[in-house]
Symmetry: C2
Subunit: 140 residues, 2 copies
């Protein structure tokens, strides 16, 4: 079947691009959370962060921050912006080609990141230190 984002990049399927260069493309999302919702993807087919070259990653992020500034200047309704990346199906990644969403937010638009009830507790500092130890070792 092939990758939908690769097909958008090659324009094999209908697409509205806002920007592209040799490394990344910015594409209007066809299921926008608000008008102006777009995403930035590397042109090369990269499934996950584990395969993402740091230079390409930087270019994706830089393009997203420039698009954030463009959204605020565009005249579109934009009271805030979320940048969101989903790495893995359990994180909500629907297309296995990495992409960073740039989501204009409008005051009280009813969207946002959902927290589980009961997930917010006073911090257990000992537990945080234990977890941080695991992460420091893995960070290398």
């Amino acid at each position: 079947m092939g990758c939908i984002i690769c097909k958008l990049i090659s324009e094999e399927i209908e697409v509205t691009k806002v920007y592209e260069d040799d490394v990344v493309v910015a594409v209007m999302d066809i299921q926008p959370i608000n008008p102006g919702h777009l995403f930035i993807a590397p042109k090369r087919h990269i499934e996950s962060i584990s395969e993402l070259d740091e230079e390409v990653g930087s270019h994706v992020f830089k393009t997203a921050t420039r698009m954030t500034n463009a959204l605020r200047r565009s005249g579109l309704k934009c009271d805030g912006v979320n940048l969101l990346l989903a790495d893995g199906g359990s994180a909500g990644q629907e297309i296995p080609h990495i992409h960073l969403h740039v989501i204009p937010r409008i005051r009280m638009d009813g969207s946002g990141f959902k927290f589980r009830k009961g997930s917010i507790r006073p911090p257990d500092r000992k537990e945080l230190e234990r977890i941080a130890g695991l992460l420091r070792r893995a960070f290398g």
Copy 2:
């Protein structure tokens, strides 16, 4: 009162850091969505993306992707990862010092980005092209 993230960086208040260098710091979130939830912030007090230097931004993002890889290697439960940045109160930014969340996700954990009902419609290509035109001009 001063900025909470600045106080975490200076260790004026209790903090568990996973990583720090001259430019950024990685701090365990005290209201974790799942164990291992942390955020990356520039050390300099920067409120929003509009003030974010591209080099600093790249360093923040690179650190977040390296933390994503560390999470997957750490032994903590991690079926996926979300990277999330909130720019502006209407986007859910609670502390006016820019920070990028690295959120480990566990299958069926009940979290995720919330879409308004009715926001998902078939694309109106003409409208997408009009909006893309505004963004292209503003992108410069």
